[in-house]
Subunit: 552 residues, 2 copies
């Protein structure tokens, strides 16, 4: 029996862009066929993009996806690619009523195209509805397993969460005598998740007695980042092939005859943790900019580490010449801050501008007579108005530069430095901000290039410069300690008792908890409104931020 | 056999305020006992408030709720109220692993307190996870029915969604020979939902062959409004008692001996639609202000209908003297606008201030050289900075005055007039804005009072006054037509084909759809950030906005 050649097409789709997504299916199917593939598998919800949230509930969207899918099958056949088995993801057109009487919903499908036809459809069984996932809200669960025949070999097909839960379709494969299990995925990046995925797949491979081929999407979509990192593990759990992370890629692997030892394919090296997170942030930002139709970004450059890192990541994502950095000094800004901002912009080749805020702040203060926190916030809000004015006039996406530690403790002004369409460091704590900056500079040195971030931005004590001689540690614990407490309290949802049992200083715990609780509350208060008539805009209308789908 | 006296305690809880919520249980149990009740039933999740979102997943919160519940049982007994059967809602302390392998979650419980003990617990079976509901995300489903014995009669107990779905615990009651079904609810207000509830309860009463007593919570919580309107229907579907909407209330009703005809209780009159929606908006706003610890609000008064209606509702919610209205005229503001704003403030007894925006706009324009839309937005943003400055300095909650039609088509400035912690008209379309204003003025006339809203604010053509002689209908279809199209496209998720089939003008359809799609996209872009490490702040951390729970 001949080998069966498998291609895993790790591509970057965009929610709603049915035309571009199906064009990509055609293009990557051509490449797979040219590489001799018998089967090419694309990520979860290829045709629609992922995650589609409440677009799933709009009939005209589902009709459009189904039409695009059928057209793709016909085009593959017309191009002479009908013999290639093409596995794509999409949304089912029809609604299914749920057994518990809740509203009817469509299914999350894997669709097999062959000889110009839809040869098979598989409906995802396990619908994750925790963390970032809302699938039980929008999809009905499938109930049947799916086994294809490809070149005389039996190939099982499941979708993402189906392998994360015991039982269900994978357990059914145990008796199905399959030669390969193909899993199509939309698995968001998390630090260290790569190992979880391969260990899990190894376990399932053992259960079904066959290799597992895992294809994942890549790219930024709204507030999620998909890292790719597609792979194949053998029936004994050995890693046989792995694609690189954060790039589109075609991973080829041969399913050998049972009598042969398993084939090995490309094995992309693993990234170390700071590089992996830097690339994740960069990928998320690049995707958000492109998919939302922007070509450039604008941000305030304070001379501090957060805005320096955001500028460096932006330059890596879209090129320094597409980055507009605005120095907006106040009466409290130090000379070294302005120098560091200018130096950074020069290193990045960014469009650098200086717009002092004093004239505006003076007239607001004269008119309104504000002092204390109200006056501090005013400075941040004048900067927000300046950045939004430049955005409206010149079309740049505004980036907010706050990091996760600051946001967690409320060290941020609503409608001030929080202004922006995207906050690249929202999920990066301050300790990691420094680590990423050092990693990026070292990577430049290793490549014989000028480090993008001025050394003094990394080494100086952090300050918001909203009043004379202010530094962050006037009001916050040291960041390494703060980040440890935040990790336990916010990430791990530990309570005060658990934090004290870990040995944290009770005063620090009290301080951090009260700051976080207040900041959480303030952040969630803006902006909001009630649901009164039927639907309001808010929790009851969850649409993707980035969607290129338009009502046909 | 004697009558069994039932009390339905329609109270206003606050998420996280375990102390106040259990104090309310004690206070209303005293009232129920004083009125001779044998059983008092409180709304869903009484102890914790509702909806608690991801607070359900925090162990220290669940421990706190359980401790408050146990303390309440002991206090009831100590006060001599141990003989009263008290049914309250709470969150279960323990996590249950879900059969499908998804993360372990607690249950949504009805807890029966009697003689100082927890006599029974019932776990909600049907977990709504559509529209505004996220319960499958945070709760595990119960599997057992619950029947109590009260004064020798069998009383079935279920929670909210359990009666909205066929099957489950209500079907099990069919064989349980119950004399009464008690349903505790957190059912958000929607226009016309009162009739849906009573019709549904009548159907369930028929199925179980017994009356249904339905107690609902009341008050505003985050972006939801609960209208109360608790009621009792007989086994034959007759409405036997009904509480008023939008107020805390104790509805008493006697479960008669089987040999007697069913007793009738108080029947509060129904509200007509404009009054009902006005009261819903007022209740939502009043709850948001109070539960977030504010005592006053600040808003811009333009002289137009939206800000006039918001000011009138605010005055009804917290008293006119707690409303700060700021006229912020620009070079384009008409004299009649300023006069109408002053007249409104006087009628309401509001704190009225005038702060021209020209000095700030002039200096921004001189410094930045903005024109066109960027210059229009600048005016709105300067107003936002003024309102936030007053909020920071004086502690008022900022109200945004935009209505649903404007927000839907993007007739709003991000970080400008969209600034605010609460937007009372977010879910009220422009046609309804006029209707509510007219209803409120007529209600004043009927009561022999001065109408709060100047007539010219109702009758003049709407204008944003951001450029000379601008009116809304320069760029928008007439509002009555716009609102019809929005209702079909946004509320009912109809596609272009369905809209054209309804006979709408194709040009209008094209215009409205492109405006809505663009506005939706713009609105969702601000603000946002990526999930990269573990949890980020965003979709994966859904906490209530208003929660008085603090880490113990």
């Amino acid at each position: 029996m001949a080998n069966v050649r498998i291609a895993l097409a790790q591509i970057d789709t965009c929610v709603g862009d049915l035309e571009a997504n199906t064009q990509a299916v055609l293009e990557w199917s051509r490449r797979a066929a040219a590489a001799g593939a018998d089967l090419v598998a694309f990520p979860e919800m290829t045709v629609t993009g992922y995650p589609i949230e409440d677009l799933a509930l709009r009939a005209s969207f589902r009709r459009g996806a189904e039409a695009a899918l059928q057209a793709t099958a016909a085009l593959l056949e017309a191009e002479g690619l009908g013999g290639l088995v093409v596995v794509v993801g999409s949304v089912g057109e029809e609604l299914r009523s749920a057994p518990d009487g809740s509203p009817a919903r469509p299914t999350n499908q894997a669709v097999v195209l062959h000889h110009g036809q839809v040869q098979a459809r598989y409906d995802k069984h396990h619908l994750p509805n925790y963390g970032v996932f809302d699938e039980y809200r929008i999809f009905a669960a499938g109930t049947r397993a799916c086994v294809l025949e490809v070149c005389g070999r039996r190939v099982g097909l499941v979708i993402c969460e189906d392998i994360w839960q015991d039982g269900g379709p994978v357990a059914a494969m145990d008796d199905a005598d399959i030669a390969l299990l193909v899993v199509i995925n939309g698995s968001p990046f998390e630090e260290g998740k790569g190992h979880l995925r391969t260990e899990l797949a190894a376990r399932r491979a053992h259960e079904v007695g066959a290799p597992v081929a895992y294809v994942n999407m890549v790219g930024g979509q709204d507030d999620l980042v998909f890292d790719g990192g597609s792979f194949v593990v053998g029936a004994d759990g050995t890693l046989l092939a792995r694609a690189p992370q954060f790039v589109e890629h075609l991973l080829m692997w041969d399913l050998a005859d049972d009598a042969q030892p398993p084939a090995r394919g490309e094995l992309a090296p693993e990234l170390e943790v700071d590089e992996e997170i830097y690339r994740a942030v960069q990928t998320g930002l690049a995707g958000y900019i492109r998919k939302n139709g922007f070509r450039s970004v604008v941000l305030g450059l304070s001379g501090g580490i957060d805005s320096a890192l955001v500028a460096a990541i932006s330059a890596d994502a879209i090129g320094g010449s597409h980055v507009v950095g605005v120095s907006m000094p106040s009466r409290y800004s130090s000379e070294h801050s302005k120098d560091d901002a200018a130096d950074l912009a020069k290193r990045l080749g960014a469009d650098y501008r200086i717009q002092p805020i004093k004239p505006m702040v003076d007239v607001f203060e004269a008119e309104l007579g504000l002092e204390g926190v109200a006056a501090e916030n005013l400075q941040a809000r004048v900067r927000g108005v300046i950045l939004m004015g430049l955005s409206n006039a010149e079309g740049h996406l505004v980036l907010a530069t706050g990091n996760k530690s600051e946001l967690a403790v409320g060290y941020s002004t609503i409608y001030g430095d929080a202004v922006g369409g995207y906050a690249p460091l929202k999920d990066v704590d301050k300790s990691r901000v420094w680590a990423l900056a050092r990693w990026r500079n070292n990577a430049a040195l290793d490549a014989g290039e000028l480090p993008p971030i001025p050394e003094s931005s990394i080494t100086k004590p952090p300050s918001a410069e909203l009043r004379p001689d202010q530094v962050d540690q006037d009001s916050l614990p040291p960041y390494d300690l703060l980040d440890e407490v935040l990790d336990a309290y916010v990430e791990n949802a530990e309570g005060r008792a658990e934090l004290l049992a870990r040995g944290f200083d009770p005063e620090i715990v009290e301080k951090v908890l009260s700051l976080v609780d207040r900041a959480e509350w303030k952040r969630r208060q803006y902006p909001l409104g009630p649901k009164v008539t039927g639907l309001a805009f808010g929790r009851d209308r969850r649409l993707p931020i980035t969607s290129l789908w338009r009502e046909p």
